[in-house]
Point group: C2
Chain length 492, copies 2
């Protein structure tokens, strides 16, 4: 029952005015503390049409420093947005460290509308709920404060408001078609809302139901809840998060030391197969494009293992309008100040397109782990976060292929030396490469752990034996083609 | 899928032995830190029959200091236990601060068995899940580390073990009837277990699935998980918990200042009504006893408001074998070192019996709040914890009546003075009473907040105007009788 959430009886008007003043002032002070402590605050406004979400949001923003917040209205997904995974438009909107982000309606509206308009199956609904729970948990695990408000009013009150607004031309525009539909189907909507809220009312991101009958009182409830939330979040700033056991099906993988690197291919064989496979890939891409299947290829591997050349042989087969290669370096400041997966959520392909990542989201459990760019708790938690990320992509229908381009230590030394001694290749070798090489054993241990913990059946790792680069290229093309053929078959 | 939880590939035997030694040593060190930091650790062992829970537990305990742990086997509830709310036997088992408590199977086994043997309706199952989620959340909110293990093995492996054990007389006793039944209905059990685990796999108390095929490996997984869990819990020791909005239906209640205390009753009227009502109550108790309805009466109120005399007029009507009066003073050390509700969970009546509390679990939001015996976060969170506690009692079928025995400040002064000046009443008045009186306004504010936030429809507060004690007694009896009549009617 939605109305049972909110237990606070409405105080006298005098008291409301007084407390509002105090709360606004507290919030202003907290903005500075948020900045100082790099706390990101993500606030979702949901509720009945005409319940006054916009008005309260307006009041709230007027008292905040505009350098430290963004507010956004979310509408039905556009055609382009529908070509991305469900969570994309919410993940891309998460605030930077030290900032507020306000969403005027969001994932609740999108999902419950899909239910009300029969656009979603029961299974898909259940998956959406799981996605939302993981999304919210992953944000709070990574230090976000997430607050969800639901502006509630009775059927009678909504009818009254809609009628009042419709009476005058100057206000009638404030009522949209959906508000009217919602009011006509109030009981049905109530049931769907109530169920959604029950299923997403967690102890870390609970629902806050706002009694929306009085505007001032609604404003006070919202601001006081935000103030209390920020207080708690600031106190818990150095929280260590319990690790959750993996729940996704994993494939058993060999350790790197057990990989036979003596695999090679003759020049003739290479040329013949390369041509055949690239033609095959081109054709498969056409089919995938028509079917709207997105393809995500992730490359990781030792320095000088031959990632670049390998990627070239893949892209050579593709229509340039249908793919993007994302070289992933260390995160830029605006990326670093967000959830570590944000910069990948914003780089997803559209349906039917390829996105090829030259280094990936796995930096979290390799370089960031080994160089201490994140805490131990951060990278230990990340295995699950990465599996969850790829689960979203897989549920969306993407082909996901992950390559570890593998060479041995001697081969790397030979290639480094060659690069250093060949003027036109010198740009390819840096001091950092040598420093990383010194940490080979630590990296090998981290990679073994990564491959063991993130080779899910829906996004497995493939090891490319790349002492012979040509062998690795042919193997990569074969794996990509096979994965695409499988997905195309399933989608029939 | 239960087997997908556990992602850790089994290491070589040498490594297991080595890591076991390290883990056992770490655990011993942590025992002292737990003691120092007053961390209570509650560990649940669940899993398939013959999966080796007992063996691992034995190994674990051998390496721990016996002063700091208790281990308990939980079996099917006894006849007496069935006369208490479902959570009682688990709440009463929670460890003291600084101690381990191990349960060899617990709430998962009880609930899933009820499902498998068709002893529980779908609605009751859903309620049990909610109870478990609240129980676990309330423990972690109050600083407990709760770890849940599920010992998993395949159908084939279980069959193999059962057969091997049955072959010899010396080991056959280790297999009980339920193990055999479980093995015969493995797939059915699997489904029920999997569903239960999915529904109770939260981010604060996740399931840890243990690959039980190898004993040593199982032992290592368990101990390493415990060590990691304690590490996290010690780091998060001063955690502030986000407040969850109330989700239970509340009644609107007046503020104390708006209560008309000029209500009274004539001596004649009092005598007549008292006799009538006590007879009625006696009869109702007989009916309630036969129907197995438990009755819980909670008294709070100002010092010298007349609680004691009021309680006497109730108990006068009852069969002494059918009720207990619990005077609640400040908690004893062994009570203080547990969850604040523990001493009430251990004092619940059996079905058909009365439990009358002279002062109650509401101390948390009155004296403990005002005297600083708990943190602000503790008492703010408590409103919800108290509503949840009473929800368990109500779902169990109890009549819950809560009285605030109310007088004004002048009446209190008159009664205090009278007590002080009457030798045989002097024991009734202490310095503390005078000190509390000085904080009347603060108490009034706290009581108003308490009554507003915890007057649920299933356990509402009743205000007894007790300037005239006789009026208050008659009103109390009427309310108790009415509440019992209502429940008896519903239970027909």
């Amino acid at each position: 029952m939605i109305e049972t959430y909110n237990s606070i009886p409405k105080p006298e008007t005098d008291e409301i005015v007084q407390r509002l003043e105090i709360a606004h002032q507290r919030l202003q002070e907290q903005q500075l503390l948020m900045k100082e402590n790099k706390l990101p605050v993500f606030i979702l406004f949901e509720g009945w049409g005409t319940a006054g979400k916009g008005t309260v949001l307006g009041k709230l923003l007027k008292n905040l420093d505009p350098r430290f917040f963004e507010a956004k209205s979310i509408h039905d997904p556009s055609k382009d947005e529908k070509r991305k995974p469900f969570l994309t438009r919410y993940y891309t909107e998460i605030p930077e460290a030290g900032q507020f982000k306000f969403l005027d309606s969001g994932w609740m509206t999108e999902i419950t509308k899909d239910v009300l308009f029969d656009r979603i199956s029961k299974v898909d609904y259940k998956n959406r709920i799981s996605s939302v729970l993981r999304f919210e948990r992953s944000l709070t695990d990574n230090g976000y404060l997430v607050l969800k408000f639901f502006f509630h009013m009775s059927h009678k009150e909504q009818s009254k408001r809609i009628n009042a607004l419709m009476e005058s031309k100057e206000t009638a525009w404030q009522v949209d078609e959906y508000d009217v539909w919602e009011n006509k189907h109030y009981d049905e909507c109530y049931k769907v809302f109530d169920k959604f809220m029950e299923e997403t009312n967690t102890s870390t991101v609970p629902w806050n139901v706002i009694d929306a009958k009085s505007r001032k009182w609604a404003e006070l409830q919202v601001i006081e809840t935000i103030v209390a939330g920020i207080d708690v979040a600031l106190k818990n700033h150095s929280l260590t998060v319990p690790l959750i056991q993996n729940i996704f099906p994993l494939k058993r993988m060999p350790k790197l030391k057990d990989i036979n690197l003596n695999k090679s291919i003759s020049e003739d064989e290479y040329k013949t197969q390369l041509k055949e496979l690239q033609e095959k890939l081109e054709n498969l891409h056409n089919v995938a494009y028509l079917k709207g299947i997105p393809i995500i290829i992730a490359y990781e591997g030792w320095d000088a293992a031959g990632k670049g050349g390998n990627i070239k042989r893949v892209t050579a087969a593709l229509d340039p309008r249908g793919y993007v290669v994302h070289p992933i370096a260390s995160p830029k400041p605006h990326e670093k100040s967000r959830h570590h997966l944000w910069r990948f959520w914003t780089r997803l392909p559209k349906t039917g397109h390829f996105a090829i990542f030259d280094r990936t989201w796995y930096g979290r459990v390799m370089v960031e782990r080994l160089e201490g760019y994140c805490t131990e708790n951060d990278w230990q938690r990340a295995y699950n976060e990465l599996n969850e990320f790829e689960k979203e992509l897989s549920d969306w229908g993407a082909v996901i292929v992950k390559f570890w381009v593998h060479i041995d230590k001697d081969t790397q030394l030979a290639r480094f030396t060659d690069r250093q001694n060949t003027p036109e290749k010198q740009w390819k070798i840096t001091d950092e490469d040598w420093r990383n090489r010194d940490k080979w054993d630590l990296y090998e241990q981290a990679v073994d752990e990564m491959i063991a913990k993130t080779s899910t059946t829906y996004a497995p790792w493939h090891i490319l034996e790349s002492n012979d680069k040509k062998y690795a290229r042919i193997k990569a093309l074969k794996i990509i083609c096979a994965a695409m053929e499988k997905k195309i078959k399933e989608s029939k």
